[in-house]
């Protein structure tokens, strides 16, 4: 069982409003209140970027904004921590290329 947990012996997940955002131009469904990284994981996407020097795939590691492993390009801005950024309707998310372009 991968993705969103529907049944849990202890917890109940109250999901908020359903929204859509884009990952590499692909439409992805998410719920308000989820972080970008969480929503991508729910869609089975774990590779969030490729590292600038060695070109290695990298993904979520600490999930609390402390390790910078999850940097992505979000709405054109590079080096955004996808584990700390909430998804928004229509948001455009990309795997980060290299160190990120600002121009």
């Amino acid at each position: 069982m991968e993705g969103r947990i529907e049944q849990h012996p202890i917890l109940q997940f109250k999901r908020k409003k359903k929204i859509k955002f884009y990952f590499e131009d692909r439409e992805i469904e998410a719920f308000e209140g989820e972080t970008v990284a969480a929503a991508l994981h729910a869609a089975g996407i774990r590779v969030l970027r490729h590292t600038p020097n060695l070109g290695r795939p990298a993904g979520l590691f600490c999930a609390i904004g402390k390790c910078s492993s999850c940097l992505m390009e979000i709405d054109g801005i590079p080096n955004v921590r996808s584990c700390m950024t909430k998804v928004k309707e229509g948001m455009r998310v990309r795997r980060q290329k290299g160190k990120g372009d600002v121009l």
Binding site: E2, H8, F13, R56, G59, A63
Partner: protein, 600 residues
């Protein structure tokens, strides 16, 4: 700038309890926490807590958080600022934080820092691959967002967090293939262990992860058995088909803000790593700054809450002269009670180092006397376990090894009689005897080790000298290889004399090297190379390799790098310099400061 009587940074159990206590004593308090809601680690905990009834025992973690939160919202003296990331503490008790892309500044008479801890890292090959997570990240995804990052898990580390995570994963309906543990016993409570064992999760003791497999993300893992010297035992490697690996090898306090506030920190491994020095009542070396919870020592929610309360009581005394003496005494007694059991041995000895005494059983001091015969090739007996065995004594043709009548006694060498023949090295079933000779003129040492692996090294070859834990120490050059019919051959190699007590194994250099610093992609090999080139100051290593200079500010790799340096130089971590913490604690966009400080 808005002036508060008290600011609390971090809204975990320590901070929440601190706030409630301050509020109850009429102190105007604000809690700053970077999450959407307060609760800290508790929010992710779905299991019932131990402890005593006064401290929410047998309540589930997230429910404790809810209860404390309710109390806080009822208290008019307490203000809660969520989504507020503190990025620095500046002069005059000025706390700067960001919220909604804007900078805010507040000043406080007293500050309570309760920022908790962060997970330790474990570098192995491909540990930077997507699908390798800190245990906390899996808990966040699973218990906060209800999202499962994988189907088949491998957990590294059998402390309470690893055990609880395994249980929680199974609860959420996925498979846990195994928990691997490097030590010979489970790290966490037996009850937690029994819980997962009952569910059919094997806890593989004396095992470690060798590497993660996968191109784009984890598709498997190679684990292997390790011996009592933490070396992987060749031939025991095996592949596990898993898609997710969770690391839970312990927590370490988040001291950056305390350091910026001028609080002295020291390396006390028993308490989790670098911790701020503080007195019994949680006051740091900066009289205006207090700490509590995991930041002061990696422990439990219960002790975090009591510490938060003690700190707050002392702060209230400072701020408005509240008479809290008796309450403090009472809380100190409760705390001492919590820490009196056998599970708190580490905490007690850690606190002792800080001058905080809780009576601990004293251990007899063993007086060891070693007669070293420098410069002569002789046997070095490293058999200090009381095993019934005397093969060394029996094998020595010159009567240089004595065990005596009791087979359990450990062997003693008469160095005068030892000729350096090596027969005992070859004979010892425990591979616990080595040959050694110092070459003083050239500051090197020649070490002979029993070698039962293939291929056999050759004269002149460069190899790695490894420590008892199997970690790289220095390069060695093979001098000679003596073959024996029983296949326990002796390999002699030369290396710098400083490492004569550290190197105990030789291995062929490995080609792959794990990434230690994720931000700057610095591998173990690169760090070791720099150290080998003679740069042994952490500050200089940092500047040459960029480790700890990336966006995370060293939160993840600093301790690992210090560990490598300590291992290679033999200087304990507590004696190494470890850099200065500077704001911002987390990367902040320029736009945050564009308008100039917006006073709260």
């Amino acid at each position: 700038m808005n002036l508060y009587q008290a600011v609390i940074i971090g809204g975990g159990p320590a901070g929440m309890m601190g706030a409630i206590t301050l509020g109850n004593h009429g102190v105007k308090t604000i809690i700053l926490d970077e999450n959407e809601s307060i609760g800290g680690q508790l929010v992710k905990q779905t299991h019932k807590f131990f402890g005593d009834h006064a401290h929410y025992a047998s309540t589930r973690g997230f429910e404790i958080a809810q209860k404390l939160d309710e109390e806080i919202s009822k208290n008019k003296n307490i203000e809660v600022e969520n989504n507020a990331t503190v990025i620095g503490i500046y002069p005059n008790n000025t706390v700067v934080y960001t919220k909604d892309g804007q900078e805010h500044k507040i000043q406080a008479k007293k500050i309570l820092i309760a920022t908790g801890a962060m997970e330790k890292q474990l570098p192995f090959i491909n540990s930077d691959l997507p699908g390798v997570y800190g245990a906390g990240a899996v808990q966040t995804l699973m218990n906060e967002y209800g999202i499962m990052p994988g189907k088949r898990f491998l957990i590294i580390g059998s402390g309470n967090i690893g055990l609880i995570l395994a249980y929680q994963l199974i609860q959420a309906g996925v498979e846990v293939r195994a928990i691997v543990e490097a030590l010979g016993k489970v790290g966490g409570y037996d009850v937690h262990a029994n819980k997962v064992k009952r569910l059919g999760v094997p806890i593989l003791l004396n095992h470690t992860i060798v590497k993660a497999i996968g191109d784009e993300s984890v598709q498997g893992a190679i684990i292997a058995k390790i011996d009592d010297k933490f070396q992987t035992i060749p031939g025991t490697e095996r592949e596990m088909v898993v898609d997710t690996i969770a690391i839970s090898v312990g927590l370490t306090p988040l001291t950056e803000l305390a350091e910026q506030a001028g609080c002295k920190v020291e390396f006390i491994p028993e308490l989790g790593g670098y911790v701020p020095i503080r007195d019994e009542r949680m006051r740091t070396t900066n009289p205006d700054v207090f700490i509590a919870g995991d930041l002061s020592s990696i422990e439990e929610a219960t002790t975090a809450m009591i510490e938060g309360k003690i700190a707050a009581l002392e702060m209230a005394r400072d701020i408005n002269g509240s008479d809290t003496k008796e309450e403090i005494e009472e809380e100190l007694r409760t705390l001492a009670l919590f820490r009196s059991g056998p599970k708190s041995v580490k905490i007690r000895s850690g606190l002792e180092k800080m001058g905080i005494k809780i009576s601990i059983p004293t251990k007899p001091i063993i007086n060891e006397k070693k007669e070293d015969v420098i410069g002569k090739l002789r046997a070095v007996l490293e058999c200090d376990e009381e095993i019934p065995c005397n093969s060394c004594e029996a094998s020595c043709p010159f009567g240089a090894i004595h065990i005596g009548e009791n087979l359990n006694s450990t062997p003693v060498l008469d160095a005068e009689k030892c000729t350096g023949c090596g027969t005992c090295v070859n004979a010892c079933p425990g591979l616990a005897i080595f040959m050694m000779k110092e070459n003083e003129e050239e500051s090197t040492v020649t070490l002979g080790i029993p070698y039962e692996l293939l291929p056999l090294p050759e004269k002149g070859q460069k190899m790695w000298g490894l420590s008892k834990e199997g970690n790289y120490v220095c390069d060695v050059t093979v001098e000679r290889v003596v073959k024996y019919p029983n296949k326990t051959n002796i390999v002699y190699a030369k290396f710098p004399i400083e490492f004569k007590d550290t190197v105990r194994h030789f291995a062929f250099p490995k080609k792959e090297s794990p990434i230690v610093c994720r931000c700057e992609e610095v591998s173990l090999e690169q760090i070791e190379k720099v150290i080998d080139s003679g740069v042994t100051d952490f500050e200089e290593i940092k500047r040459l390799t960029r480790v700890t200079m990336g966006p995370c500010g060293g939160k993840n790799c600093k301790l690992v790098v210090l560990g490598i340096l300590s291992r290679k130089t033999g200087v304990p971590i507590s004696k190494l310099s470890h850099g200065t913490s500077r704001p911002p604690v987390k990367p902040v966009e320029f736009s945050v400061f564009k308008k100039g400080g917006d006073d709260k």
